[in-house]
């Protein structure tokens, strides 16, 4: 690998956590909830077993998860202080988490809450930006109707007032990447 995802994502004001297992990742999510005094957490795009571990750790918190009933969206999601989504793959060179969804509820989980946490398995980190082409084409062809691929490289930012970098104007003010080493 020529590039280091962690330093590239952090250069974009992102926060990276390296953990050894899904259980440790669940624990890290709980810690972040505690630090931010969040009472409601939204999940999407995650494997069932991992969701259970998060539920085990975050017992006292309100957890929103799929399937999301369409009638209550998007308002219900606005309650969540933290959104956790599974990341299909990440690009080290550009510090990018690539989220794939065929339901827009997933996009709300990663864009409405004040904090977004992306879950990345270490094996899914690719080195260079242009290597992503074949994976993107593969994802698109796998979905012959609808699919949205979202590149997420750090928190929501703007420089629109006096060119001063400000985070979290519409989307998340904090973007975390939890990298699970062993899977």
């Amino acid at each position: 690998m020529t590039y280091d995802f962690t330093s590239c994502f952090e250069a974009l004001s992102g926060v990276v956590h390296q953990v050894n297992s899904e259980e440790a990742a669940a624990q890290k999510i709980y810690e972040i909830c505690q630090q931010q005094q969040v009472s409601c957490l939204a999940l999407a795009n995650l494997p069932e077993a991992f969701i259970q571990q998060i539920e085990n750790y975050c017992g006292g918190l309100k957890i929103l998860k799929e399937p999301y009933p369409s009638e209550s969206l998007p308002l219900a999601m606005d309650e969540a202080g933290i959104g956790v989504t599974g990341i299909e793959f990440a690009i080290a060179q550009s510090g990018t988490m690539v989220e794939v969804s065929d339901n827009d509820a997933v996009r709300l989980v990663s864009s409405l809450p004040r904090t977004h946490i992306g879950i990345i398995y270490k094996k899914d980190i690719i080195d260079t930006y242009f290597e992503s082409g074949s994976r993107i084409r593969e994802i698109i062809s796998r979905h012959d109707r609808n699919v949205v691929i979202s590149f997420i490289s750090g928190p929501s930012r703007t420089g629109d007032i006096e060119l001063k970098l400000t985070l979290g104007v519409h989307g998340p003010e904090e973007a975390h990447a939890v990298i699970i080493e062993d899977h």
Partner: protein, 707 residues
């Protein structure tokens, strides 16, 4: 009179120059754009090489556009998207109104889209009772004050925090502190219900991908993610030129756009939308709609016009704004109709017509820097020259521009009548009259004419070189011929010293002023004549060496575009060299060492003329001076010194005054650098730098006489 037409433009420039605060913000904005781009290029593998890839991809996709558009439409429809091809803005407007009625929509959340700005979509929607809200912060501010974008990437860069705080205070009825974090908090709270409740989400698209039928939307704020996921109906308005062939093309554009705009790789969010997804589990067929409106609005005509086709290569990064010298001091409200800056001239001509573009095209000084920074290498200087030319066909040229286009004839006359002409140039009353009559600034100190021209001197020489190692056809242009023949002779001597046979074939002036002011018939005539006169020598093995940067640029860069179908123009261009690049290569080849003690202890600041940027960037001249023992460093702001060829010689606001305002930051750098003198190869930049820095200014060859 042609000058009456620009009264409004002059007023706007004057106003822009007098607003110090706004000017400072704009300068720091464009400078930051240049600096962050440059910093990214340092670490990007291949540096600026991606520009060739973007160019090639755009050439291919625009050439193949009819097929790609069809393929894009087919693939998008397969994914359940409704695609509408709109001929013009009016069709977009009525399509959107119909959709809004059908959905009983009240609120439309919009994510930044220049394409909808250009067709002024918001106004008729609002008229119809819809609440149209821009969600990009900069665009929202612009919408609230009812202005047009000041800069493409930073549309509200001219608004200070207190002004913005007041806006949101008025809007929300709450007290808003004027620090940025407080404003952001209010913006987030104010916008949230709009996002959550918008009925229709409207976005542009940076890219359409033919092979997949998908679109890509780039933002930093994440607003497009929200408006494209929440509303029942998503409308995407995309210019047809945004369609590329493959996913890899899309990745290239997604990289090139933010790298060129702000050094980012990529923007914080890139949304690749393929079809419309459900929102949550409805259990029934989703009623969520997706509409893509592909807009023509003059693009087909641009594509069919060989001189304007390149406008369709634009990826809207705003880099040309960040480097354009005049835009950098006057901003988008003066330099633009809706789409601002250099590309704005081309785009305005294609979409709003020649006359509207012509109203501000005079702000282009033809320095050519926009082409050098453009990720698609769009030849904006040529397109703008063509626009000025077409516009002048009906509206006429400004008198002063006609004078500048004929400056070589004046120089010829000045040289023939040298003592008298020089006395006149020095006489203030005469100069005042000239300013009044022909618009030449009386304040500019002009170089005197030489009674004997370079050509006349050269004709009297006997060639000294036997068994030459290289054969050179020397191109002299105006200044070294009529004003400073000594300089031309020194160049010839330097070439001969290295064993070159130097001839001065029959030649015309370079004619660049005709390009700069849009006298394209004359420019083509001159180019053709020079190609006819010089190419036979190239075919005999002569290399063309030119002494004036702008002349070199004309031969090496401009002529092949002016004379598109003439292969000899390309041949001449490929065999044209800058004097010092040529001399340095000769030194390396012959192993002849210059006297490295000649300028020991001297410190110079080098000024690179804009027209050298695509050539050697002055590296040859700097290396040449270094080998003579001097210290020399490039001193630059990254844009033009403001002279813009003969632009700064013109009197008044659209000339000397604007030219000085552009030069200020560069003058300051030179004055603070502590160098002994300025060195530049350009005869016109030297006038500007002498006036602005008050330092001695030398051509590199003049340094030989300094010791």
């Amino acid at each position: 009179m042609a000058s009456d037409r620009y009264k409004h433009l002059y007023e706007k420039i004057t106003e822009a120059l007098s607003d110090t605060k706004k000017k400072e913000l704009l300068l720091s904005c464009v400078k930051r754009g240049r600096d962050t781009r440059a910093a990214r290029l340092e670490t990007l593998p291949g540096g600026a090489a991606f520009r060739s890839d973007v160019r090639a991809a755009k050439e291919r996709c625009i050439e193949d556009l009819p097929r790609l558009k069809k393929l894009f439409i087919e693939n998008a429809r397969k994914r359940g998207v409704s695609v509408f091809e709109a001929k013009n803005g009016a069709e977009v407007i009525s399509y959107c109104l119909d959709l809004a009625r059908k959905h009983g929509a009240r609120t439309i959340g919009k994510s930044k889209s220049l394409t909808t700005e250009v067709i002024e979509l918001n106004h008729p929607l609002t008229e119809a009772g819809l609440n149209v809200v821009e969600t990009d912060l900069g665009e929202l501010i612009i919408q609230l004050v009812d202005e047009k974008p000041f800069h493409l990437v930073f549309p509200a860069v001219h608004k200070m925090a207190p002004e913005v705080a007041k806006l949101f205070s008025d809007l929300t009825g709450k007290e808003v502190a004027d620090d940025i974090p407080s404003i952001m908090k209010v913006v987030r709270e104010y916008m949230r219900p709009i996002f959550l409740n918008c009925d229709i989400g409207m976005t542009g698209a940076n890219i359409g991908i033919a092979e997949t039928g998908g679109i890509c939307i780039e933002t930093n704020e994440g607003n497009a993610r929200l408006v494209s996921s929440i509303g029942k109906c998503h409308i995407c308005v995309v210019g047809m030129e945004k369609i590329v062939e493959t996913v890899d093309d899309a990745l290239l554009m997604i990289m090139a756009h933010p790298v060129s705009a702000s050094g980012q790789l990529p923007t914080t969010y890139v949304t690749w939308m393929h079809g419309r997804s459900e929102l949550g589990e409805s259990g029934a067929d989703s009623e969520r709609e997706s509409h893509i409106i592909i807009l023509d609005n003059g693009r087909t005509e641009m594509r069919d016009d060989p001189e304007m086709r390149e406008a369709l290569y634009c990826i809207r990064c705003g880099a040309c704004m960040n480097i354009c010298p005049t835009y950098g001091v006057v901003g988008g409200h003066t330099f633009g109709h809706i789409y601002p800056g250099p590309m704005g001239i081309c785009w305005t001509a294609g979409v709003h017509g020649l006359e509207t573009a012509g109203d501000f095209a005079q702000l282009c000084v033809s320095c050519g820097l926009c082409k050098e920074i453009c990720p698609a290498k769009i030849n904006m200087p040529h397109m703008i020259a063509e626009i000025k030319h077409r516009d002048a066909k009906t509206k006429g040229h400004l008198l002063v521009n006609r004078v500048m286009m004929g400056a070589d004839k004046a120089a010829k006359l000045g040289s023939a009548t040298a003592p008298l002409a020089n006395a006149a140039l020095k006489s203030r009353p005469v100069r005042n009259i000239m300013e009044k009559l022909i618009g030449l600034s009386a304040e500019r100190k002009l170089p005197p004419f030489a009674a004997t021209t370079f050509m006349q001197h050269f004709a009297k020489r006997t060639p000294t070189v036997k068994d030459p190692i290289k054969k050179v056809a020397f191109f002299v242009d105006v200044y070294a011929n009529y004003n400073d023949p000594k300089l031309g002779l020194a160049a010839v001597a330097a070439l001969e010293e290295h064993g070159c046979e130097v001839i001065v074939p029959d030649q015309d002036v370079s004619g660049y002023p005709s390009i700069a002011y849009g006298g394209m018939d004359q420019a083509r005539k001159i180019a053709r004549s020079n190609v006819e006169k010089l190419t036979p020598w190239v075919k005999k093995g002569y290399g063309v060496v030119a002494i004036e940067p702008t002349a070199t640029y004309a031969l090496a860069v401009s002529y092949p575009t002016l004379l598109r179908d003439n292969p000899d123009a390309r041949l001449l261009a490929d065999n044209t060299h800058e004097l010092f690049e040529y001399l340095i290569a000769l030194e390396d080849e012959t192993g002849q060492k210059p006297n490295s003690a000649l300028l020991a202890g001297k410190r110079f600041g080098f000024h690179c003329a804009c027209h050298q940027r695509p050539l050697g960037s002055g590296n040859g001249a700097m290396a040449w001076v270094r080998r003579l023992g001097a210290d020399i460093e490039l001193i630059e702001t990254g844009t033009c010194c403001g002279m813009g060829g003969t632009f700064g010689l013109k009197a008044g606001i659209l000339g000397h005054e604007l030219s000085s305002a552009i030069g200020e930051p560069l003058f300051k750098l030179f004055k603070e650098s502590g160098v002994d003198a300025v060195v530049t190869e350009s005869s016109v930049c030297s006038i500007q730098l002498a006036e602005g820095t008050r330092l001695p200014v030398y051509h590199p060859l003049q340094l030989l006489d300094l010791h």
